[in-house]
Amino acid sequence: MIPAAFDYVRPADIGEALRILKEREGEAKILAGGYSLLPLLKLRLAQPALLVDLQSVGGLDGITRTDDDIRIGGRATHARILEDDGLAAVLPIMRDAAAGIGDPQIRNWGTIGGSLAHADPAADWPAVVLALRASFVLRSADGERVVPARGFFLDPFQTGIEPAEILTEVRIPIPPARSGSAYQNLERRAGDFSTVGAAAALTLGADGRISEVGIGLTAVADAAFAATQAEDALRGATPGDELIREAAMAASRQSRPADDAHGPAEYKRAMVTEMTFRALRAALGRAMA
């Protein structure tokens, strides 16, 4: 399969990249790892006039830590996230999710920023950043804004990002003590997109109750979403299997899966309950460890 013709530029820095995106607004697409974009180009589902390759733009692929948050550059690959031991120690959910994305070659090139901006409704990262209440730095030639993950994913392949913006950084609040996080997903075949993916992050208070909790679900609605009804059922409660089973059922009720090749909607709703239950139980185990 051959893409339709396009032009290609490889800007040397972020300023040049943003200027090109502004000048060619609506015509240009950003190229990061390419493992989401190139299939679209080859199928001619996308026919941009210009690709802006970010590979020479420095400073976009690091993983750093401030007093308040972990900052992951938009061009950080899934492999880099998978292999970062310091990150896995603080946010084990990041390694859980990265390990299941695609296959080793795809993880070598595919990026977290590319995945989030592409917003495939079955992608894994959107569920994770929703659970973690992350935010995104969106830069354009006119400035920078920081937007929360919650509210960013609108519809299949539709987000709150503007055409001339680049998602340069993901910011994840550093969880307090007695926190745990986990990602559980169901794949029909190795390397496949998730049939259902559930991300959970929670914090226990001094009294042993759940003081804060985030749950993100993917592949079971038009876009990844936060299972807020399940979160409400858990917040302030004393954790136990019965409680998290009820919360997982609330998450299932909030999901809107479609019948497709991965299975009928009824099956997927059952799997939302199971994957959410497993993610919550794993997160709880890590919070108590």
């Binding site: 013709a5 290609y8 080859k42 590979q55 080793p104 795809i106 390397g191």
Partner: protein, 171 residues
């Protein structure tokens, strides 16, 4: 359509080409440079038959543009043997019958070489995970796993011999 002038190093040899930006890396390798050892299988980044090394990272060359590789060092199956001596993985795939039709083999070997460079002593699970982006429809993978285990053991043994030989000189 405007073309781009690119320079890539393939198996240690510098190449230049004028290419359309939409040209895929696998077609640059096969059609422009005549290196047909890299295969086009599914053409959808699933099967891994087109796997090559780009600056030391394995990539599916059907899902990378030739212009993305401008300035990069590429290694393909043609760059694995040392003259008439097969690469340990080429030899072990032969010895262990790690192929039947052979279509997946170039990509399988390139991915295995990357895996062993990062993890010289992988478990069977790590091998299976490491080649999970490479599909084989003939073998059922059993002999592929054996071949990778053989190459891993031989490469470790060779490294130990080298270290042993180098030690007195270093001391």
């Amino acid at each position: 359509m405007t073309t781009k002038h690119i320079t890539v190093t393939v198996n240690g040899e510098a190449h230049e080409a004028d290419v359309e930006p939409r040209l895929l890396l696998v077609h640059l390798l096969r059609d422009t440079f005549g290196l047909t050892g890299t295969h086009v299988g599914c053409d959808t980044s699933n099967c891994g038959a087109c796997t090559v090394h780009v600056d030391g990272r394995t990539a599916k060359s059907c899902t990378m543009l030739a212009v993305q590789a401008d300035g990069a060092e590429i290694k393909t199956i043609e760059g694995m043997a040392a003259g008439a001596t097969l690469h340990p993985l080429q030899q072990s795939f032969w010895d262990q019958h790690g192929l039947q039709c052979g279509f997946c083999t170039p990509g399988m070997i390139m991915q295995s070489a990357w895996l062993l460079a990062r993890n010289p002593d992988p478990s069977e699970d790590e091998i299976r995970e490491g080649i999970s982006g490479n599909l084989c429809r003939c073998t059922g993978y059993v002999n592929i796993v054996k071949a990778i285990q053989q190459a891993a053991a031989e490469t470790r043994a060779a490294a130990e011999t080298q270290t042993g030989a180098a030690a007195p000189a270093a001391g």
